[in-house]
């Protein structure tokens, strides 16, 4: 089987590539920098006896996506797509520059929805897999990274909608809501809660891949945090924010 991993050059994407390679699947790896992809390709091919294709791609460019991904061969060969991507800006606050806002939405939501829509037919005809990765940040409006969290909320909603589709078709849809992860996005940040291991998550993702529809929190206990956030009225959260300021 062959898998397409969008955002494979580092963090969770890289761990997923190694996990799928360990299980002898050929891969198509996509990222913005060919240097990183080339290093992963050679390492995987030397160690795992699989075939790896690499594509340098900016998810902000629809023509690039169309040209590089929407080709007949990929529609025929690819059995599953994983989207371990997440773009963040340090200055993401209300009133963010419009170009950056667009970039965030394209990378975190629109381009993912675009790619899925094009692969939907080919994947549903062969019990294909679509695996997305959201963020706990999507569960509440926030002062920091508001556009990031909004784009991740859109993504989660989209995957829930795909979940309905999975009931009627052969598609397998998985969505992971991630808490703090031990990747470069969290490096050096003073976090109040522990970070999850991308390696461990990659193993879980591979193990779960055959389920019809699943939404899973990682680490698991973030599910409880999300539930509390959903239950508490927003006015109380505003009030608490005022007190703890």
């Amino acid at each position: 089987m062959k898998y397409l991993i969008i955002g494979a050059s580092s963090g969770l994407g890289r761990e997923l590539a190694y996990e799928y390679a360990k299980n002898k699947h050929d891969l198509v790896l996509v990222s913005r920098d060919l240097r990183d992809l080339a290093a992963i390709k050679s390492d995987l091919e030397k160690k795992s006896e699989i075939k790896v294709e690499i594509i340098e791609l900016d998810l902000n460019s629809e023509p690039e996506i169309e040209k590089n991904l929407f080709i007949e061969r990929f529609f025929n060969e690819i059995d599953g797509i994983l989207f371990p991507i997440g773009m963040m800006f340090d200055d993401d606050k209300i009133g963010l520059d419009q170009e950056k806002m667009k970039k965030l939405f394209k990378a975190n939501f629109t381009s993912i929805a675009f790619i899925i829509s094009k692969f939907l037919n080919s994947l549903s005809s062969k019990q294909g897999e679509i695996i997305g990765f959201g963020s706990i940040a999507a569960y509440l409006g926030r002062k920091l990274n508001p556009y990031y969290s909004a784009s991740k909320r859109a993504l989660e909603s989209h995957f829930e909608s795909l979940g309905f589709l999975s009931k009627k078709t052969n598609l397998k849809i998985q969505f992971y809501v991630l808490g703090y992860m031990d990747t470069n996005l969290a490096f050096g940040k003073k976090l109040k809660l522990p970070k999850g291991s991308p390696k461990k998550l990659a193993r879980i993702v591979y193990k779960n891949r055959n389920g019809k529809f699943k939404k899973i929190f990682f680490p698991r206990w973030w599910g409880l945090v999300a539930m509390i956030l959903n239950l508490v009225p927003i006015k109380i959260l505003f009030f608490m924010d005022k007190i703890f300021k």
């Binding site: 050059s9 920098d33 290093a39 030397k46 990747t183 470069n184 050096g188």
Partner: protein, 442 residues
């Protein structure tokens, strides 16, 4: 210091230097570029197993390359491999041994990074036969904050290539290395043990070992003047017709930097430990089979040795002495040993082959190594040993002995000034700095 760096309290392996330092851990090539450009003073850190503080300094941003641990290219016909610098020796050998290939010049601990072994021009037990790692390096890919990406080899940027091997990481971040691999005919060694009655006896037997296929080194007592130099010579010879079968025994990385809260090494405990070891060795067969890990990684399974040095740590002195001067050097060494009675926990000899240049610990010499506890008495003893090194043109290792001062290094390393000048010429802002480079005024 810039944002999004992780702050850690770091201590050199020998416990001689500690500091709060800022880290960056890139996992993309462009992050190496961005992080390097974000700070005035930087240094690359490997696994931090260097005894001396080579990979960090309180004023430098430490770039941790552990995510750069991939195999970039492998040519079985040419027996060449290109790897990223954050790959550890153990993982490297796990791959190359599948093809009965290895690097014979690896140091004695398997979790050291390949970038680290290039920056320190490491050597292993077989340095009397194979020399240092320099012999196996074909190319280096380096990133320098100002000079950018550089490909280094004998044919390209040769001067920077030479400055980088054994250059303590001061020429930039070593990102990838191409090695020429050596065939390994067997995964098993036959180890012959031979008793020696004195230092002179030991030296003679080590010097007489002309067999290119045998790696000879010694363990000698140095716990008191009466038994100084007695001990054993070990000769590892590869067993023929016994291929490695691509197999490297599984070993786990242990935390070995957490030393005990007090030192258990003193003249009495060293004497007892040496007596026990001596008796065990004497009782053992003088010919036994050992696997690759036992032979090339002698500290595996013996990590407690370091822990017993306690919170003040230890110092290892490794000195290259020419065969012309070794006897007089050791006579004078024994004289000051008699006067100061230092606590030496380990003493060893082996041959070294190579050509000395810049700050490289390499020459056609005898390599004398000894570990000692970090006490005032021992430090005074070592100051006299430093003078002996200057007097007899011996070369003490900068990598091992963090105690060495700029004057001693300048007096012992004839190419010290040349290295310093060329480094300054290549990088006039002297961007890459560690605690050791600052101490040695590099």
């Amino acid at each position: 210091m810039n944002n999004n760096s992780e702050k850690k309290f770091l201590t050199s392996f020998d416990k001689s230097y500690s500091a709060h330092i800022f880290f960056k851990k890139p996992d993309k090539y462009r992050e190496i570029e961005n992080h390097s450009r974000s700070n005035e003073s930087i240094i690359t850190i490997g696994s931090n197993y260097s005894y001396a503080p080579m990979g960090f300094d309180k004023n430098s941003l430490a770039i941790d390359l552990s995510s750069f641990n991939r195999i970039i290219d492998f040519d079985l016909d040419k027996k060449e491999i290109t790897v990223e610098a954050g790959l550890k020796i153990y993982d490297f050998l796990k791959f190359t041994l599948k093809y009965n290939l290895w690097l014979p010049q690896v140091p004695g601990y398997p979790f050291i990074t390949l970038g680290g072994i290039v920056a320190t021009n490491s050597h292993g037990k077989s340095c009397g036969t194979h020399g240092t790692i320099r012999k196996s390096i074909k190319k280096i890919k380096l990133f320098h904050k100002i000079n950018g990406w550089l490909d280094l080899s004998e044919n390209k940027n040769k001067e920077v290539f030479d400055l980088t091997i054994g250059g303590l990481g001061l020429t930039g971040t070593i990102v990838a290395i191409t090695f020429k691999l050596t065939e390994l005919g067997s995964g098993t060694f036959e180890t012959h043990t031979e008793e020696v009655k004195s230092f002179g006896d030991c030296y003679k037997k080590i010097a007489d070992n002309k067999d290119e296929e045998t790696f000879a080194y010694s363990w000698n007592r140095a716990d008191n003047i009466k038994n100084f130099g007695t001990g054993f010579i070990y000769k590892n010879k590869l067993k023929n017709n016994n291929k490695t079968n691509g197999y490297l025994r599984e070993i786990k990385q242990k935390k070995i930097s957490n030393f005990l809260p007090l030192s258990l090494w003193n003249s009495l405990s060293v004497n007892i430990a040496n007596n026990i070891y001596y008796k065990i060795q004497k009782m053992q067969k003088n010919k036994l089979n050992e696997d690759l890990i036992q032979v090339i990684f002698p500290y595996i399974g013996r990590e407690s040795y370091f822990k017993l040095f306690g919170p003040k740590g230890f110092i290892e002195s490794q000195i290259l002495v020419s065969s012309k001067n070794i006897e007089i050097f050791m006579d004078e060494f024994l004289n000051i040993f008699k006067k100061h009675s230092p606590v030496i926990t380990l003493f060893s000899l082996k041959n070294m082959r190579g050509e000395h240049n810049y700050l490289r610990f390499e020459d056609n010499s005898v390599c004398v190594s000894f570990d000692f506890t970090n006490t005032k008495k021992n430090m005074e003893f070592m100051r006299l040993v430093d003078k002996l090194c200057v007097k007899h043109k011996a070369i003490p290792s900068i990598i091992k002995d963090s105690r060495l001062d700029q004057k001693t290094v300048n007096d012992c390393y004839v190419y010290y000034q040349d290295f310093k000048n060329k480094l300054k010429n290549y990088d006039n802002k002297r961007v890459y700095q560690s605690a050791i480079s600052n101490k040695l005024d590099l």
